[in-house]
């Protein structure tokens, strides 16, 4: 057992709140879990050594952090500094309720406690840590039939030597629609463990954005776990940068017929960064669709890990599932470990998966420079070309406009290192 895990268990035993009945089960599992090593299948390519002996402060400081809202985007802002929600938004649209995890009305407690860990599988180590330690976050409830036009924008800012254990539970009622943007940023030595469960009920729609922009010494472990009911729709866009440790577990559970999940993920890794995306799509029931596209660009001495599992259960007939992962390695020492896994137990399904790895197209680079375009500009254009198709597919155009220059700046940084 690592010092980190021992400390988490010790602290978890002191937690006593409305979630305790659920936390106890996770605590029991956590106590039997060993710290991952290279031999642990789900952590084979991602080392947790940088976290092993660390202890951080939790929620004790309330430092000033520079944060600017997304230009041109009218959003409901939930800004957390070291796990402290700065302000609970007021004047929410009718049909939307948001409660801070520390202060949940009794009626909300009842359903939220019931849903806790229903979408999140128990095998994720840091999911269990979050189960026992989560002390901040929000419970979001969108009432039946309501469309919330204003996106909810959740941001985590963390000071040096701080840790946040955040839990988000979102329920999108029948025929309701909502957009969630979850945004983790920073580069100082710190830890964010951000776990969210989303329950998309019958014919409801969730538009989800996950921006994992924590770099350098900012360690990040996170989970996004989505349960789709009958005719529910998910449209998710994930953008990840890397750090010493950055891992995201994505689970999508098709639990009602005719559910639809579109997932686009992008990772862009600068020098020496590490990013790991483990996605698992469970087709538990028939007539559901998954369309998952993952594209990454990996810079010098950086490592990307993508594990894409699609599990089609025995009764999930007429499933349509596609998974595609394309990678661009900028240098000889950039690394990608990609593993698409298709597990099919039904006989009447259409599934496709594939992974490709390409190197920088030197002939394209020469062609562009031969027209007078500088090497740096050409590289940015080539890189951007590779992922722009996914940015173009983001349903929120304002968000796409905001994202493009951030990605371009990232490419400039990645290319400067070549």
């Amino acid at each position: 057992m690592s010092a980190y895990l021992a400390n988490a268990i010790e602290q978890g035993q002191l937690v006593n709140d409305w979630l305790t009945p659920k936390r106890l089960g996770s605590m029991a599992l956590l106590q039997q879990t060993s710290w991952p090593t290279r031999k642990t299948e789900s952590w084979k390519y991602t080392s947790v050594r940088s976290l092993e002996k660390k202890t951080f402060e939790r929620g004790t400081t309330n430092d000033e952090h520079a944060f600017s809202s997304i230009a041109g985007l009218d959003a409901i802002e939930l800004v957390f500094v070291n796990g402290v929600l700065q302000q609970l938004p007021e004047g929410l649209p009718a049909g939307l309720s948001i409660a801070s995890l520390e202060n949940v009305p009794e009626s909300t407690q009842v359903w939220a406690r019931e849903q806790f860990n229903v979408a999140k599988p128990s095998q994720h180590l840091f999911g269990l840590v979050n189960d026992v330690l989560a002390d901040n976050g929000v419970i979001v409830d969108v009432a039946e039939g309501v469309t919330i036009d204003t996106p909810i924008h959740l941001v985590n800012l963390v000071s040096e030597n701080n840790e946040t254990q955040q839990r988000v539970i979102v329920r999108v009622g029948q025929n309701a629609k909502v957009t969630m943007i979850e945004h983790n940023t920073g580069s100082v030595e710190s830890l964010v463990n951000h776990v969210a469960e989303y329950f998309v009920e019958e014919s409801a729609e969730l538009e989800l954005y996950r921006f994992s922009f924590r770099t350098e010494k900012a360690l990040t472990v996170s989970g996004a776990h989505v349960q789709l009911a009958k005719k529910a729709k998910l449209n998710a866009t994930i953008v990840g940068f890397g750090s010493e440790l950055s891992r995201m577990d994505l689970d999508v559970l098709h639990r009602g017929e005719n559910a639809f999940a579109k997932i686009n993920a992008i990772y862009l890794l600068a020098k020496g960064e590490h990013f790991d995306l483990h996605s698992t799509i469970e087709h538990e029931i028939g007539h559901c669709v998954t369309d998952e596209t993952v594209r990454g660009i990996v810079g010098e001495k950086a490592t990307a890990v993508f594990n894409g599992r699609i599990h089609i259960h025995r009764d999930a007939q007429k499933t349509l599932a596609e998974l595609n992962n394309k990678n661009l390695l900028l240098t000889d020492d950039a690394k990608i470990n990609t593993k698409p896994e298709l597990e099919i137990y039904a006989d009447d399904v259409r599934c496709a998966h594939g992974a490709t790895v390409a190197e920088l197209d030197k002939s394209a680079l020469y062609y562009m420079t031969s027209r007078g375009v500088s090497r740096d500009t050409a590289l940015v254009m080539l890189n951007f070309g590779f992922i722009n198709a996914l940015v173009d597919e983001m349903p929120n155009a304002v968000l796409a406009e905001w994202l493009r220059p951030i990605l371009k700046e990232r490419f400039v940084k990645m290319n400067a290192e070549l």
């Binding site: 197209d361 030197k362 002939s363 394209a364 020469y366 062609y367 562009m368 420079t369 031969s370 027209r371 007078g372 375009v373 500088s374 090497r375 500009t377 050409a378 254009m381 080539l382 951007f384 070309g385 590779f386 722009n388 198709a389």
Partner: protein, 254 residues
């Protein structure tokens, strides 16, 4: 304009250019002909600065610039343009944004104020029209899914926008039918100017019916072995390259 002296270059340690001399004055059109493997394309690559083409001796100057001492992009901004024999497909980068970036880079290097997007779009549309390229090709990825003829016309379209002082056309006629060939030739002829020079690299005489050269050179085994006026091209057409010393007919056919 362009002065090449004793240029020697190799690719992967194989010597391709073996002491090439060539002088081109402003406004002149020079055709370079020769058998396959003579080094015709290599000359274009070496002059434009392709990676992997190592100059082992000699010099090449464009105006006052020592070409061989410059990066590929600097050579382009100094006025050199190579129309590729096999233009590269670049999915994800639109023709329009690519050419805007290229024109911007040229204007920036000259210290000029950049064109607005609207001004540039107008210029690009005009260039497309001139080479008979549908306007939607501006929005498509660079050369992505273009036919052979469309790629060649796209090269000339780029040339029209960049207004280079020295254009090297590398087999711009290969794979073209006669109509496409005329479009390419008309595009080139429209740019003939007392200040602008051309090197037309071709295997066949056909293109030279439409782009009249001032001089014709025969390149063989990395050197210019014969120079003359336009009538030399006709001779070559009639006699082929078999008369060249040390030239193996069978090898060339292979």
């Amino acid at each position: 304009m362009l002065e090449i002296k004793n240029l020697q270059a190799s690719v992967e340690d194989k010597e391709i250019l073996k002491g090439l001399n060539l002088e081109i004055k402003p406004g002149e059109v020079h055709a370079i002909m020769g058998p396959n493997g003579a080094g015709k394309s290599t000359l274009g690559y070496v002059l434009s600065g392709r990676e992997g083409y190592e100059v082992t001796d000699g010099s090449a100057t464009l105006g006052n610039d020592d070409l061989l001492d410059m990066e590929a992009e600097e050579r382009a901004r100094a006025g050199l343009f190579l129309a590729f024999q096999y233009p590269v497909e670049i999915p994800g980068v639109s023709n329009l944004e690519f050419m805007k970036a290229a024109v911007d880079a040229h204007m920036e290097a000259r210290g000029e104020e950049l064109m607005s997007s609207a001004e540039f779009l107008k210029a690009a549309k005009l260039a497309c029209k001139q080479v008979n390229l549908p306007l939607e090709f501006l929005k498509r990825g660079v050369n992505e899914g273009f036919s052979g003829g469309e790629k060649k016309r796209n090269e000339i379209m780029q040339m029209l926008l960049l207004k280079p002082s020295l254009c090297i056309l590398d087999e711009s006629d290969s794979g073209l039918d006669i109509d496409a060939l005329k479009v390419v030739a008309e595009g080139v002829n429209s740019q003939r100017d007392p200040k602008r020079s051309f090197i037309v690299v071709t295997h066949y005489q056909r293109l030279l019916d439409y782009i009249k050269p001032d001089y014709v050179h025969v390149l063989s085994d990395g050197k210019i072995v014969k120079s003359g006026d336009a009538s030399l091209a006709k001779e070559l057409e009639a006699e082929g390259y078999a008369w060249l010393e040390g030239y193996d007919v069978e090898e060339a056919d292979a």
